[in-house]
């Protein structure tokens, strides 16, 4: 069983972190593994999305990635296979990002146990706020899976403190909206980052809309411990399909350039 905490200690402590997201099975199981390996050198944490029929928090790019993966027939067991294979090549932490229903459908314990056995370090469940997370937290603790909760610019200090208690790091959503590439990081993200850094003890990674070198640089300067880049990479997959690995690596390397070790 991987020591999840060890993986996450990289965030915030040994410098700034780059977290990169792709959807598992988009456009195929093998391609996903290749893409993960392509990102591995320059990313600190790899976030793997579990495709879902109803991705309500996602913008167009990741929605389409979900549908491509489902159309390709990806199953939960494939997602765990991908993580297992990746583990043979890399120690970098893998975080699963999912909606709650795929967990609920197979049973929380079975899901978390299988994830842990496959070598998953942590999980983010988009539509599972703290109030509903009791049983899930218990199982993640039992099987040594780190939990990461989302925070938003409108999350109260009180809730932030509660989230801080149970999160390996805080995943701060940069804006009011869904995932997707945006031209600018909105001012509200910087205000929120300042507040979250003050309230929370854990490292803070900012995501949603973060896609350019410039965004990464500004957020790092503003005190972020990490950034999450998703749609910008997923759009490369949309464009190049199976052949996206090289371009993905180029993109991740470029973003890495904005992060001082």
């Amino acid at each position: 069983m991987p020591d999840s905490l060890e993986g996450f200690e990289m965030i915030g402590k040994s410098g700034k972190s780059l977290i990169t997201f792709i959807t598992a099975g988009d456009p195929s199981k093998n391609a996903t593994l290749n893409f993960m390996l392509a990102m591995e050198e320059y990313a600190d944490v790899i976030e793997l999305g579990i495709p879902f029929s109803d991705p309500m928090a996602d913008g167009k790019a990741i929605q389409k990635a979900n549908y491509r993966a489902l159309k390709a027939g990806i199953k939960l067991s494939d997602v765990f296979d991908i993580v297992r294979s990746f583990r043979k090549h890399s120690e970098k932490p893998v975080v699963l990002m999912t909606y709650f229903n795929p967990i609920y459908a197979v049973g929380i314990e079975r899901f978390v146990r299988d994830a842990s056995e496959a070598g998953v370090s942590g999980m983010i469940v988009v539509d599972l706020p703290l109030e509903e997370a009791g049983g899930y937290l218990e199982m993640c603790e039992k099987y040594g899976i780190g939990t990461i909760f989302l925070a938003a610019p409108n999350t109260s200090d009180e809730r932030l403190m509660a989230i801080d208690e149970v999160s390996e790091f805080i995943y701060l959503v940069s804006t009011y909206g869904v995932t997707g590439v945006r031209d600018e990081v909105p001012p509200i993200a910087f205000e929120a980052l300042k507040r979250v850094k003050k309230v929370c003890r854990k490292p803070v990674a900012v995501g949603f809309g973060v896609s350019k070198l410039e965004h990464v640089r500004k957020l790092m300067d503003a005190g972020a411990d990490g950034v999450v880049v998703g749609s910008a990479i997923v759009e490369i997959i949309e464009r190049l399909g199976e052949d996206a690995a090289e371009e993905i690596q180029r993109k991740v390397r470029e973003l890495r350039g904005a992060i001082k070790r």
Binding site: D54, P102, Y104, A105, L150, A151, P153, T175, G177
Partner: protein
């Protein structure tokens, strides 16, 4: 906040504060006489409440069993019960200072009812509708546009109602500061299921009072169709503590065993979607699957959490009626009473006729006739059941 284990608030963190704001505002107006008077005013003078409770004498004689009463929600403005909820929520939204309404719609009934409320209260209104449904329901799209609403076709997923809800939620995540999401059924995260139930409970409150007045006693059974379940919960709720059978009728579509149906309670499994824990049609890995019903208003792969609770508690029964049975009931009621029921409501009629036949003549069944059938003429004609033109 929950109905047993059902309901809850399974939403991204960013929606917690707007849901709290909504809950707080809703709790306030629930006790606010002025608000309730205003709501009553619009329900009476704009929507046409109270609706009659009509003794369907001819239908009763044909069936030859229990007395069948129809709660005539089909007579409301817009032709269905939907307006009870849209007026309530739009008034609340206005009180909260929101300038814009968004809503999802499947067949277009809730979209039209929201567009009416938007026009009435001078609020910008945008309706999300699956692009498949936009194609299938062109007249309702036109009606919404006439009423001043913007209709936004949704291309994601199965391009139907559930995807329209997803897209409305995506809008709301970005717009909640100025916008109220006017959900059309007793579904979604808390406080929606409870709030929609309360706005629709006027149906059951009236029906209960009316039957006591007419018959001097409560009915033996109350029957209503269930898609998301708002007309059913609306008529059930005031009878929950009474010794009255409550029967929800789901859409069995082409038959439960064909997989083409919308019977989440009869054939689905527990799951989490659209902010709530309830019953959903889904595969083994929790992917939501497409629903089917000849009645577009029942064509949703989930159901309101309070129905899941009433079923598990054994307080209400949930049965299912096929497309064909609903079509037959549609024709039957038209011929017997001169009333064209909505195909959704025809599911309830079909089941009510079935049980009434087995009941004695001094027993009473109340059916919620939740909408009128004019919108369904094309479908009924295509089915060829009543002969063509």
């Amino acid at each position: 906040m929950k109905f047993g284990e059902f309901g809850g608030r399974f939403v991204p963190e960013v929606l917690i504060p707007p849901l709290e704001e909504l809950k707080k505002a809703y709790m306030e107006i629930r006790e606010d006489d002025e608000f309730q008077r205003e709501l009553e005013h619009y329900l009476k003078n704009y929507a046409g409440r109270p609706t009659p409770l009509y003794f369907a004498k001819n239908l009763t004689e044909r069936v030859g069993g229990a007395k069948i009463y129809l709660k005539r929600e089909d007579l409301l403005h817009g032709g269905a019960h939907k307006i009870n909820n849209t007026i309530g929520q739009a008034l609340l939204a206005r009180k909260m200072g929101k300038k814009r309404l968004i809503a999802e719609t499947g067949a277009g009934q809730h979209g039209v009812a929201t567009a009416m409320a938007g026009a009435l209260f001078g609020m910008e209104t945008e309706i999300y509708m699956g692009s498949e449904d936009v194609e299938r329901q062109r007249m309702n799209v036109f009606r919404m546009r006439l009423l001043g609403a913007k209709v936004i076709p949704v291309e994601g997923g199965t391009k139907t109602l559930k995807d329209a809800i997803n897209e409305a939620l995506r809008d709301w995540v970005a717009s909640f500061e100025t916008t109220h999401y006017l959900i059309g059924s007793c579904v979604g995260p808390y406080p929606y299921p409870e709030m929609v139930r309360d706005f629709q409970s006027v149906i059951g409150r009236e029906a209960r009072q009316q039957i006591l007045q007419i018959e001097g006693r409560l009915p033996d059974a109350v029957v209503a169709c269930v898609g998301g379940g708002s007309n059913a919960i609306g008529i059930f709720h005031p009878f929950v503590d009474d010794d009255v059978r409550l029967i929800g009728v789901e859409a069995a579509g082409k038959g439960i065993d064909t997989g083409e149906h919308s019977a989440s309670l009869n054939a689905g499994r527990k799951g989490v979607l659209h902010g709530m824990l309830s019953y959903f049609l889904q595969d083994d890995e929790g992917q939501i699957v497409d629903a089917h019903s000849i009645a577009a208003g029942l064509d949703y792969p989930g159901v309101g959490p309070e129905h899941a609770y009433l079923m598990e508690e054994g307080r209400a029964e949930y049965v299912a009626v096929t497309d064909d049975e609903a079509l037959k009931a549609f024709v039957e009621l038209s011929r017997a009473e001169g009333i064209l029921p909505a195909l959704e409501s025809a599911h309830a009629i079909a089941y009510a006729m079935k049980i009434a036949a087995e009941m004695s003549r001094d027993e009473i069944v109340v059916v919620n006739l939740s909408g009128r059938g004019d919108k369904d003429l094309g479908v009924v004609m295509d089915a060829g059941l009543a002969g063509g033109l």
